[in-house]
């Protein structure tokens, strides 16, 4: 489990463009407007075949809307997108045949058994009958649910349901598997096992994986990630490159008077600090060496201090000026305001 949680890149050999070559997803100028709200404000990117591509951002950033457009569930207001070589508007069914979907919320029929759910999917997707049995066993064994195939889905835990959905999404051998927040609401152990399947999958099948997440640690498993905020892609690169660009350690201090501390940091060290997650936060090149100076030279009392290596949190912070959690709460505030306006 420790091995799984370690932020190692999924694999170097399958770097974008090397293996399968052809782009699995091509997006240009994609926009989605809902009445007055612009959920997605013109995004462009490409995902190479065989890549694990992550969409990272707070809730309400437009990730789900984008994924819904790519899955042909939502019509774009402007722009174009091709998935597995097919246009998402003009060739809707071709796209649908070539993608697998795992949504945030379960879409299983709880009154049917696991096997019945998969059979139903196979029928809807027209999987050749003689292949259904073998393929079903393959995908269910992969997620460790073969033994439970006759149980009603209602008797499954949240993690088992999610695993079954992943199996179902793979049943018709899609070229692109979309996972919308695949691990949200799951315990850490289940989360790591889901990531194990995803990586196994990449090794075993010719498949491109497109996922959204708002967990920073999960984004590190991706070959490349796009950071999305307020309907735009802010930056797109490999996790390593993104972290290298930040290049600074993050220092967080707890003080009695945050404003005084920020002023003192600016005056004495020329450092611009902000308050994030309730702590004074700033970046310095050599965090550990800096801490003794901090205690020696800062006038205001410090209650606690922590230094961390650059993480994707810092990447997000350096591009958006806020942490994911703070961005989320402000998005929630915005939603609340919209709701309030609508209810008037």
């Amino acid at each position: 489990m420790t091995e799984l949680l370690a932020p190692t890149p999924a694999s170097d050999t399958a770097a974008p463009g090397s293996a399968s070559g052809a782009a699995a997803v091509v997006v240009s100028g994609l926009v989605k407007r809902y009445d007055e709200v612009e959920a997605v404000r013109g995004i462009d990117f490409e995902v190479a075949g065989g890549e694990i591509f992550g969409f990272l951002g707070p809730n309400g950033a437009g990730k789900s809307t984008t994924i819904n457009m790519l899955c042909t569930l939502v019509r774009p207001s402007a722009g174009a997108a091709r998935v597995a070589g097919h246009d998402v508007v003009a060739e809707r069914d071709e796209v649908r045949r070539n993608i697998g979907l795992v949504f945030q919320d379960t879409t299983l029929d709880g009154y049917l058994s696991a096997e019945q759910n998969l059979r139903l999917h196979a029928e809807l997707y027209g999987v050749p009958r003689e292949l259904v049995g073998e393929r079903m066993r393959q995908v269910m064994e992969m997620v460790g649910l073969w033994e439970r195939r006759d149980s009603l889905v209602n008797t499954f835990s949240g993690g088992m349901k999610r695993r079954l959905e992943i199996a179902r999404g793979l049943l018709h051998s899609p070229r692109v598997l979309f996972l919308d927040e695949p691990t949200v609401g799951l315990d850490p152990q289940t989360r790591s096992s889901i990531w194990r399947y995803i990586r196994e999958l990449k090794a075993r099948e010719d498949i491109t994986i497109f996922l959204t997440t708002h967990y920073m640690d999960e984004a590190e498993y991706c070959d490349r990630i796009a950071i999305m905020d307020q309907g735009r892609i802010i930056v797109l690169d490999t996790p390593q490159a993104l972290k290298a660009k930040v290049g600074k350690d993050r220092v967080q201090i707890e003080t009695d008077d945050d404003q005084a501390a920020i002023a003192a940091l600016r005056e004495r060290f020329g450092i611009e600090a902000t308050v994030a997650d309730g702590e004074v936060t700033f970046g310095v090149p050599e965090g550990e060496q800096f801490v003794p100076r901090l205690f020696a030279e800062l006038d205001c009392p410090i209650r606690a201090v922590s230094v961390s290596r650059p993480s994707l949190d810092d990447v997000f912070m350096s591009y958006t000026g806020t942490t994911i959690r703070d961005a989320e709460s402000s998005n929630t505030d915005q939603l609340r305001n919209v709701a309030r306006m609508m209810s008037r």
Partner: protein, 319 residues
Amino acid sequence: MATETTARQAGAPARPADAPDGLPAGGQAPGELAPGGRAPSPVRVPIRSLRSELRAIKVVWKRELIRFSRDRLRILTSLMQPFLFLFVLGTGISSLAAASTHGVNFKTFIYPGVLCMAVMFTAMFSAASIVWDREFGFLREMMVAPVRRSSIVLGKCFGGATVAGFQGLIVIAISPLVGIPYELTLILELLALALLLAFAITAFGVMFAARISQMQSFMAVMQMAIMPMFFISGALFSVASLPAWLTVLNRLDPLTYAVEPMRRAIFAHMHVGAAARHALDPGITWWGWHVPTAAAAAVIALLGLVMLTVAIVEFSRAE
């Protein structure tokens, strides 16, 4: 391992439409052919064809049946109300009604209405399952499948009709209890009308389910539609000498065209006298023309098709 070739052959009817895969569409090579040393996936979904649509209709239909067979409680509860009407109301009112029924058992008289009611409630619950499916997310699984929405709606309506027809069969099975003889032609005629009605009511419910996302609202709307239909249809009274306004409403009520032909068939098989027939089952007339059973069935079928079309259009439009 049997791979591409088998998959392709199995999807043979789809051959011509496979072409886009082979074409240099937008200059993009299909991923499966790309060099890279990975084993190709064992399955590729065949292109859409009539066969795949039929498979979709069948699987949606089958799911209705599986779910219905699992839900014993539902089978019982949806028989509750019809049996209350038949045996409690029927028995209670029979002495009161005896004076005017020309010797016909009042329970026999209301039997066709009760049969229709059992069928309608079951069909309505089948349609309601779309609302549940939406709430529990399963609707999405069907909506994103690479099949026409019409196939899903059709499968749902056939499923609802089958399940409700089965419920109708239970009510038909008890018909000797109200003095109706077991006769094959009669049973077939009743069942055929029941199936037709079940299909129309399911389509009616699905049409609303496309727009209503809350179970409470859906049930309220359904009650609002079904109870007046039941009362106005003449299920519980004779339409022989009604005031003009009620006669007009009665002719407009679709259920009339199921209840009356059923009653006509039952009376014919029981050899009910002309006087009694005249009083209890004067038949449906349009400006003096007696509507025969075939025309009445056509009315229900037509309404069912119209509602089915509306339902398909609504589901195809939904994102």
